[in-house]
C-alpha cells in the first residue's frame, strides 16, 4: 500500500525537478552570455573606458569595432581580469566576474587571445597545446612526482595528447607540432593561439584582432573555423578592423568610440548608422 502511495509522489518530484531544470535552462539561454555594465577604466588621469555597456548573445559572433584608442583592447583586458575595472561590472553566464583574477575567469569558460599572439616561444607547438586543458591532475606537484599518482597523470596525458593532436589537425597546423612555437609565422601563431584557447573547453572566446597579419587564404580558413565552432555552440566576441570581416561574418556589431559604446546592432544597421560612419568609417561605406 505504502509503495503505491509513494510512487506518484516520487514521480511528481522528478517531474518538478525536470521542469525546473528546463526552466533554468531556457532562462540561461535567453540571458546574454556576457553583460558589461557601465564599465569605467581610468589610468591615472586618462579615462580609457568611460561607461561602456553592452551584451553578447549566446551562440553569436559579435564584432567589436572602433577607431584606434576607442578602448577595445582595454575592454578586453577589463573583462578578462588583466586590468581591474575602476567602476562597473562584468557578468558572464550569470556570474559576476568583475575584478576576479585572470586565471579564475578563464576557468569559468571565458578565454581570450591577444592582439599580438602570446605563444610560448621556447616550447613546442604541442607543449603549448598540452598546457591549455583545465584541471589537469598533473598540475599538482605531488601527483606529478608521487609514483602512485603518476600513473593516473600519464593516462590523462595520453588522453590530452589525443585531443591536442586532433585540435591541431582541425586547425591544420599539425605538421608544425614539434617545432618551437617561436619559429611559427604570425598567422600560424594566431591559429595556434586559437587552437590552444579552444582546448580549455571555453563557453566563449574573446578574439583580439584574430585576422591582423594573417594572409587572405589563412584568414578565410580562420573564419571557416570560427563558423564551424559557432555551429557547435561557441560564442565569439572579436575585435577587428577589417570591415569585410565584420560586415559579412558578425551577426551583431558593437561600435566603441572614445571609451563609450557609440552604437550597437545588426551589421546592416551599423553600416548605415551616420554616427558610426562619421566616427569610424569615414563616410566610405
Amino acid at each position: 500500500m505504502s509503495d503505491v502511495e509513494t510512487e506518484p509522489t516520487a514521480d511528481a518530484a522528478t517531474t518538478t525537478s525536470e521542469d525546473s531544470t528546463e526552466a533554468t535552462g531556457s532562462r540561461l539561454d535567453e540571458m546574454p552570455i556576457l553583460r558589461v555594465d557601465d564599465l569605467v577604466k581610468r589610468f591615472g588621469g586618462i579615462t580609457a573606458i568611460d561607461g561602456a555597456s553592452f551584451e553578447v548573445e549566446r551562440g553569436t559572433i559579435t564584432g567589436l569595432i572602433g577607431p584606434n584608442g576607442a578602448g577595445k583592447s582595454t575592454t578586453f583586458n577589463c573583462i578578462t581580469g588583466v586590468h581591474e575595472p575602476s567602476e562597473g561590472s562584468v557578468v558572464f553566464e550569470g556570474t559576476d566576474i568583475t575584478s576576479r583574477r585572470t586565471h579564475q575567469i578563464a576557468t569559468e569558460g571565458l578565454v581570450r587571445t591577444f592582439q599580438i599572439a602570446r605563444e610560448l616561444p621556447e616550447m613546442t607547438v604541442l607543449e603549448n597545446m598540452m598546457l591549455a586543458p583545465q584541471g589537469q591532475l598533473g598540475e599538482s606537484l605531488w601527483r606529478s612526482v608521487a609514483p602512485i599518482a603518476r600513473r593516473e597523470v600519464v593516462r590523462e596525458e595520453e588522453q590530452l595528447r589525443q585531443r591536442a593532436w586532433d585540435t591541431l589537425e582541425f586547425f591544420e597546423i599539425d605538421h608544425l607540432a614539434h617545432d618551437y612555437a617561436g619559429t611559427l609565422s604570425g598567422g600560424q601563431r594566431k591559429l595556434l593561439e586559437m587552437a590552444r584557447a579552444l582546448l580549455t573547453d571555453p563557453e566563449m572566446m574573446l578574439l583580439d584582432e584574430p585576422m591582423a597579419g594573417v594572409n587572405p587564404s589563412l584568414e578565410k580558413k580562420l573564419l571557416e573555423h570560427v563558423h564551424e565552432l559557432q555551429e557547435q555552440g561557441y560564442t565569439f566576441l572579436l575585435v577587428e578592423h577589417d570591415m569585410d570581416v565584420i560586415m559579412n561574418h558578425c551577426e551583431h556589431v558593437i561600435v566603441m568610440h572614445q571609451g563609450q559604446v557609440l552604437a550597437e546592432g545588426p551589421a546592416a544597421e551599423i553600416k548605415s548608422n551616420d554616427e558610426v560612419i562619421e566616427a569610424y568609417l569615414g563616410g566610405e561605406v
Binding site: V82, V111, L126, L141, S144, D166, E228
Partner: protein, 450 residues
C-alpha cells in the same frame, strides 16, 4: 598501451619518452664525461710524475665540489632555468639550511649551545626552514617583475648573512643556556659526514669500506682520502636523487606549467593557470633543495660561519648553471662538474704538477716577473701565475663565460628539446580524418575524457 611505444623516431631527436630512456642515456652521458675527465687527469698526473695519492686526493676534491655544485645548480635550475625566477640569493637559502641544522644538532653544552637533536632531524629541519624562508621571499616576489625579484632575493640573502653576523643574534640566554648564531665565529656541531664512520660499522657498507681501505693501502692512497671519497659517494647518491626528482617534476604537466610561467606568465594565466600558487610552490621546493645542498656541502665541516655564504657563492652556482645550460637538468649536473673540474680545481692540479718538477718561487709583483722574462727567465712568470692562481682563476672564469656567450650562448646542453609532458607527445593518435575528429574533440573532449 604503453608497451609498444617507439622512441627511436629519427627526426625527433631529443623528443623522447619521459620515463626511461632520456634520463638513463643522460646519466650515461654524465658518467661518460666524468670518467673521461678522470682518466685525462690521471694520465696527465701519472705522466708528469704526480703521486697516486695526490691524484686520488685531487680527483676526490674535484668530485666533491662537482657534486655539491651539481646539487645547488639543479635546485637553481628549477627556479631560473625552468620557471624563470631569477633567484640570486642562493647563498642565503643555503645559509638558512645549514644554520638551522647546526642549531638543531649542536651539543647542548657547546658555545653557542644547540638542541643536541639527531642529525637526520637537523637535515630535515634545515630543509623545512629554507623552504619557509623561500615562502616569505616568494610573497613579495609575486608583486614584482623578474629583475626586481632578483634584487629582492639578493637583498634577502645579504640580510640573512648580516643577521647571522650581527652582535644582536650572537648569543642570547634562554633558561640559563647561551643560544645564538655565534656571530663571526659561527657554530660548532657534529658534521654530517660523520655518517661515514657510522656507516662503516654497518655490515655491508663496512665490508666494502674495508676493501677500499685495503685497496688504498696497496695503491698508496691515504685513508683520509678514501674517507672523503666515501662521503663524496653519499653526495653522488644525493645528486642522482635530486636529478631523478627534478626530472620527474620537469617532465610533467607541472613542469609544463613552470615553463609556461617562464615563457609568458600572462598567457599562462589567460589559459586558467594559477601561476601565483605555482610560483610559490616551486620557489619553496627549490629553496628547500638549496637548503639541503647547503647542508651536504657546508655541513660536512664541523663549523659554520657567515663567511661561507658570501654572494660570490651564488655567482659560482650561476656560472656552473650557465656553463651547463639552464633549463636542462643534465646540463646542470655537467655544468657543476665542468666548473669544479676545469675552472675551479683544474688549475690547482696544474700547480701541483708544476711544483713537483720545479721549485718555482713567485716574484713579488707581475712587473718583476716580466722583467725576469725579459732577462730570459720564463720561470718567474710561471711562478707568479702559480703563486697567484686563486686570483687568476677569476680571470679564467670570466674568459670562459665570454667565450661561451660567443660560441654556445645556451650553455653546453642548453636549448635541447626537453619536452615537458608525462608521456611521449610525438606518438600520434591513429585517427587522421582531419576536421571530423577535430570537431568531436573540440565539442565533447572535455566531458568524455574525464
Amino acid at each position: 598501451m604503453s608497451d609498444d611505444r617507439t622512441t627511436g623516431d629519427g627526426l625527433l631527436d631529443g623528443v623522447r619518452e619521459s620515463d626511461l630512456p632520456q634520463w638513463a642515456t643522460d646519466l650515461g652521458l654524465i658518467a661518460g664525461i666524468v670518467l673521461a675527465t678522470y682518466v685525462g687527469f690521471a694520465v696527465l698526473g701519472l705522466l708528469t710524475g704526480v703521486s697516486v695519492n695526490a691524484i686520488a686526493g685531487f680527483l676526490q676534491t674535484v668530485t666533491f665540489y662537482a657534486a655539491v655544485y651539481a646539487l645547488v645548480a639543479l635546485a637553481l635550475n628549477l627556479h631560473w632555468g625552468y620557471t624563470g625566477l631569477f633567484n640570486i640569493g642562493v647563498a642565503g637559502f643555503m645559509a638558512v639550511g645549514v644554520y638551522t641544522m647546526a642549531i638543531l644538532t649542536a651539543a647542548p653544552d657547546g658555545s653557542p649551545a644547540g638542541l643536541g637533536l639527531p642529525i637526520p632531524i637537523g637535515v630535515v629541519g634545515g630543509m623545512i626552514a629554507a623552504a619557509l624562508v623561500g615562502f616569505v621571499a616568494a610573497l613579495p616576489a609575486l608583486r614584482v617583475r623578474a629583475d626586481y625579484f632578483a634584487i629582492v632575493t639578493l637583498g634577502l640573502s645579504e640580510i640573512i648573512r648580516l643577521s647571522l653576523l650581527s652582535g644582536a643574534l650572537r648569543s642570547f640566554e634562554i633558561g640559563g643556556t647561551e643560544y645564538g648564531t655565534g656571530g663571526g665565529s659561527g657554530i660548532r656541531y657534529t658534521p654530517v659526514d660523520s655518517v661515514i664512520p657510522w656507516l662503516l660499522e654497518r655490515p655491508v657498507f663496512g665490508f666494502v669500506g674495508d676493501q677500499l681501505f685495503a685497496l688504498g693501502t696497496i695503491l698508496g692512497i691515504q685513508p683520509s682520502v678514501i674517507q672523503g671519497a666515501l662521503y663524496t659517494g653519499v653526495l653522488i647518491v644525493f645528486v642522482v636523487a635530486f636529478y631523478l626528482l627534478l626530472t620527474r617534476i620537469t617532465y610533467s604537466p607541472f613542469g609544463r606549467l613552470l615553463k609556461a610561467i617562464r615563457e609568458d606568465e600572462l598567457a599562462a594565466r589567460s589559459l586558467g593557470k594559477n601561476t601565483d600558487r605555482t610560483k610559490i610552490i616551486v620557489f619553496m621546493v627549490g629553496c628547500g633543495l638549496m637548503g639541503l645542498a647547503g647542508i651536504l656541502w657546508q655541513g660536512s665541516r664541523s663549523l659554520v660561519s657567515p663567511d661561507s655564504f658570501m654572494p660570490i657563492v651564488t655567482f659560482y652556482i650561476f656560472v656552473a648553471l650557465i656553463v651547463g645550460g639552464e633549463g636542462s637538468n643534465t646540463g646542470s649536473v655537467i655544468g657543476g662538474f665542468a666548473f669544479a673540474a676545469f675552472l675551479w680545481e683544474g688549475p690547482r692540479f696544474i700547480r701541483t704538477i708544476v711544483r713537483t718538477h720545479a721549485d718555482v718561487r713567485a716574484p713579488p709583483t707581475i712587473y718583476d716577473a716580466f722583467v725576469a722574462l725579459g732577462g730570459g727567465d720564463p720561470l718567474a712568470l710561471v711562478g707568479y701565475m702559480i703563486g697567484t692562481l686563486d686570483e687568476i682563476r677569476f680571470i679564467l672564469v670570466g674568459v670562459v663565460l665570454i667565450l661561451l656567450m660567443i660560441w654556445r650562448p645556451d650553455g653546453l646542453l642548453g636549448h635541447r628539446k626537453e619536452i615537458a609532458a608525462a608521456t611521449d607527445l610525438s606518438r600520434r593518435p591513429t585517427a587522421t580524418d582531419g576536421g571530423q575528429t577535430g570537431e568531436e574533440a573540440a565539442t565533447t573532449g572535455g566531458e568524455t575524457d574525464e
